[in-house]
C-alpha cells in the first residue's frame, strides 16, 4: 500500500496512505516516469481528494460509534420490552413486584414478589464492598505511596491476575473454603449472604484496588512535596493531602466495585443458598437477582408470564447498573464543580 520512498523524503514529507486516497494511479505514473527513489510528491493529494479523505475518516469512525450505540439501545429496549411485558401484558402490579415478599411463579396462584432478590443483591453488594474497600485502599496506599517499585512490578500484575480469575473458580473456592468456615462459625449450613459477600469481596477487591491505585498515582507529586515542605511526615502527607485529593476517584472505584458485585451471578449463585425468601439473617439461604435469573431462565418457556417476570428482574438489574453509572458521573461532576477541572 505505502509507496516506496527514500528515508530522507519520508522524514521530510509524511508518508500518506496513498492507496486510500484514490490517487494511487497518478503516483504509479510518476513513479514510472521518474527514478525509483523519487521523493513522494507533497502535492499528491488534490484539495477535493483531501476533503474526500477527511469525509471517509469521519464516516468510518462515526459508523463504528453508531453501530455500538445502536447495539446498546437495542439491548436496553429488548430488556425493557420483555420486562415491561410482565406489568403491561400479564398485569403484574409494579409496586407489588418490587415490594412483594413471595416469589412463586409456578404456584397455583402465581406470586411475583422480587423484594427477596432485590434485598439479597443489595445485601451481598454492600457487605462485600464493606469488606473489600478498607483493604483495597490500604493496599493501594502501600503499592503507590510506600513502595512504588513493588507496586508496579509485583502488586499490579497480581491484581490483574486476580481480576482475571474466572468467577466459577471463586465459586468453587467459596464452596470448599468459605462455606465450611461460615458453617463451623455459625452452626448453620453456611450458605447465605455472608458467604456470598465474602466470595464477592475477593472478586471486587482487584477492581477497587486497581482503580484506587490509578487515582493515587494521578494525584500530583507537588501535593506530596507541599505537605512534606510543611513539616508533615509521609503518613500525614498521605492522609492529609493525597487521600482527600483522591477521594472522588476512590468513591468512583467503590461504585465500580459495587456495580461488579451487583452484576456477578455465577459465584454468588454457588454459595448463596438460592432460596427466594426474604433473608432473615446473614447466614440463612437467600437469593439474588442474578442467581434467580441464571437458575430460572433456561426453565421458562419464552413469552410466558414466568419468563416475563424474569425479564423484569433483568430490567431491575439494568436500571441499577444505570444508577451506578449515574453515581460515578455525579461524583466526578461534583468534584469538578467544587474545584474546577484541574
Amino acid at each position: 500500500m505505502a509507496p516506496e520512498t527514500s528515508g530522507a523524503a519520508a522524514a521530510e514529507f509524511p508518508v500518506l496512505p496513498v492507496g486510500l486516497t484514490g490517487a494511487a494511479d497518478r503516483t504509479a505514473e510518476r513513479a514510472a516516469a521518474a527514478p525509483a527513489e523519487t521523493p513522494l510528491d507533497p502535492a499528491v493529494l488534490s484539495a477535493p481528494e483531501k476533503r474526500r479523505l477527511e469525509r471517509r475518516g469521519k464516516l468510518l469512525t462515526g459508523a463504528c460509534v453508531f453501530v455500538v450505540m445502536g447495539a446498546v439501545a437495542a439491548l436496553i429496549v429488548s430488556v425493557a420490552w420483555q420486562g415491561l411485558a410482565a406489568f403491561l401484558a400479564d398485569g403484574v402490579d409494579p409496586v407489588a413486584f418490587l415490594t412483594g415478599a413471595v416469589w412463586a411463579p409456578h404456584a397455583g396462584e402465581a406470586a411475583y414478589g422480587a423484594a427477596p432478590m432485590i434485598l439479597g443483591s443489595l445485601a451481598v453488594t454492600a457487605l462485600s464492598c464493606a469488606f473489600a474497600l478498607p483493604v483495597s485502599v490500604a493496599c493501594a496506599i502501600y503499592a503507590v505511596e510506600v513502595s512504588p517499585s513493588f507496586g508496579s512490578r509485583v502488586f499490579r500484575p497480581v491484581m490483574e491476575l486476580l481480576a482475571g480469575v474466572p468467577s466459577v473458580v471463586f465459586g468453587l473456592l467459596g464452596l470448599t473454603v468459605v462455606i465450611p468456615l461460615v458453617a463451623d462459625a455459625t452452626g448453620t449450613t453456611g450458605y447465605g449472604i455472608l458467604a456470598g459477600a465474602v466470595v464477592l469481596a475477593f472478586m471486587v477487591f482487584p477492581t477497587i484496588t486497581s482503580l484506587t491505585m490509578d487515582t493515587l498515582k494521578a494525584v500530583p507529586q507537588s501535593y506530596r512535596e507541599a505537605a512534606l515542605g510543611l513539616g508533615l511526615t509521609r503518613w500525614q502527607a498521605i492522609c492529609g493531602a493525597v487521600l482527600p485529593a483522591a477521594l472522588p476517584g476512590i468513591l468512583t472505584a467503590l461504585v465500580m466495585g459495587m456495580a461488579r458485585a451487583f452484576g456477578e451471578s455465577l459465584a454468588v449463585q454457588m454459595v448463596v443458598g438460592n432460596a427466594a425468601a426474604v433473608p432473615s439473617g446473614l447466614v440463612g439461604p437467600a437469593a439474588t437477582l442474578t442467581s434467580v435469573l441464571t437458575m430460572g431462565m433456561a426453565n421458562e418457556a419464552p413469552g410466558t408470564p414466568a419468563a416475563h417476570a424474569l425479564w423484569a428482574l433483568a430490567l431491575v438489574l439494568l436500571v441499577m447498573s444505570l444508577v451506578f453509572v449515574g453515581i460515578v458521573h455525579w461524583i466526578g461532576k461534583r468534584a469538578e464543580d467544587r474545584h474546577g477541572t484541574a
Partner: protein, 314 residues
C-alpha cells in the same frame, strides 16, 4: 533572639527525645512569648551534647547566621550536581540564588530544608547549620526542621480544599487546636502573604478557583502559617504573569521586613535586582560568587559572572 531561643529549644528537645510527633503536638502555636523563658533549661538539656554546648557558648560573642552551609555537595547517585557550596542567610534579608538552568541552584535550595532526603539516591554532604546547629548529620528530624524552614514551590500547588483549609492544614496537624486560634492564624498568614483582602469573603471556596498569582500567595500563606523564620522559594514567579510577579515580590519584601530570612531561586535577573539584598551566582554545580546585590550587578568579580550577566553564557 527571641526567635532563636524558641527554635533552638524545640530542636534540642526533639533531639534528646529522639522523636517528633508528641513534642510537636504539645507545643502550642502563638506561644512565642513565654517560650523564651526556659533558657536555663536549654543549657541543661543541651549540656551533654557538644554541638549544643558550642552553640550556646558562641551565640553571645559571635553572630550566628539564621541558616548557613559549609561545603555542601549534593549527589544524585554518582552524579555530583553541586560541589562545595558555602553560604550564609540572615534574618530580614532576601538572598537570590541565580544561574542558568541545571546549575545546581534549586538542588542547593532543596538541601536547606533537607527536602533532598526525600529523593531516592540523593546524598547531601557537608554542613548545614540552622541557628548554628548542625542539621545534616541525622541528629535533627527533618520534619521538625521544615516547620521552621518553609518552602514555596515553582508551580503554585495549593491542596484540593478550601482556602481556609489550605492555610490551617499544617498548623492543625502540628497541634494548633481551637477555632479561634486557627481563625487568627489563618488571617495573620493570609495578611502576611498580602492575600487577606482578596479572599476574606470566600475563605470556604476552593483554593483552585483562585488565579495563579493568588494561588502562589496562598502557598506563601500556607508556609507562613507555621510561623517559620526561613522561607525558601524555588522560582516562585516563573509560572506567573508580570503583575502577579510584582505582587509576590512585594510580599517577599514585606516578609523580609518582618524579619523572615528569605532564600529565593530565580531565573530572572531583574527580579533578583529588585528583590534581593544579596545574590549568589551558581554555575555548573558550583557557587561562583556571592555579593550584596548592588555590587553584584554593578561589578561582578568573577569572569563567569560577568559573562552570565552580560548574556554571553547561560
Amino acid at each position: 533572639m527571641n526567635v532563636m531561643n524558641r527554635n533552638r529549644r524545640q530542636l534540642t528537645v526533639l533531639d534528646l527525645l529522639g522523636r517528633s510527633g508528641d513534642t510537636r503536638t504539645r507545643t502550642p502555636r502563638g506561644a512565642r512569648t513565654h517560650e523564651s523563658k526556659p533558657d536555663v533549661q536549654d543549657r541543661t538539656n543541651g549540656s551533654d551534647r557538644s554541638v549544643q554546648a558550642w552553640t550556646n557558648g558562641s551565640d553571645r560573642s559571635v553572630h550566628v547566621h539564621t541558616l548557613a552551609t559549609k561545603d555542601v555537595s549534593v549527589l544524585y547517585g554518582d552524579h555530583r550536581a553541586l560541589q562545595g557550596a558555602s553560604l550564609a542567610f540572615d534574618a530580614g534579608t532576601v538572598t537570590a540564588l541565580i544561574g542558568p538552568s541545571g546549575c545546581g541552584k534549586s538542588t542547593y535550595l532543596r538541601s536547606l530544608n533537607l527536602m533532598n532526603r526525600e529523593v531516592p539516591g540523593c546524598t547531601v554532604e557537608g554542613s548545614i547549620l540552622y541557628h548554628g546547629q548542625e542539621v545534616n548529620d541525622g541528629s535533627v528530624d527533618s520534619f521538625a526542621l521544615r516547620r521552621h524552614v518553609g518552602m514555596v514551590f515553582q508551580q503554585p500547588n495549593p491542596f484540593r480544599m478550601s482556602i481556609y483549609d489550605n492555610v490551617a492544614f499544617a498548623p492543625k496537624r502540628h497541634g494548633v487546636k481551637g477555632k479561634q486560634d486557627l481563625d487568627e492564624l489563618v488571617e495573620k498568614s493570609l495578611r502576611d502573604a498580602a492575600l487577606w483582602d482578596e479572599v476574606k469573603d470566600k475563605l470556604a471556596t476552593s483554593a483552585l478557583a483562585l488565579s495563579g498569582g493568588q494561588q502562589q500567595r496562598l502557598c506563601i500563606a500556607r508556609a507562613m502559617a507555621l510561623r517559620p523564620d526561613v522561607l525558601l522559594m524555588d522560582e516562585p514567579c516563573s509560572a506567573l504573569d508580570p503583575i502577579a510577579t510584582l505582587a509576590i515580590e512585594d510580599t517577599v519584601r514585606s516578609l523580609a521586613a518582618q524579619g523572615i530570612c528569605v532564600a529565593m531561586v530565580t531565573h530572572n535577573m531583574q527580579q533578583a535586582a529588585r528583590v534581593s539584598d544579596k545574590c549568589a551566582f551558581f554555575y555548573l554545580g558550583e557557587l561562583v560568587e556571592t555579593a550584596p546585590t548592588q555590587g553584584f550587578f554593578d561589578n561582578p568579580r568573577d569572569p563567569r559572572t560577568q559573562d552570565y550577566l552580560s548574556g554571553r553564557v547561560g
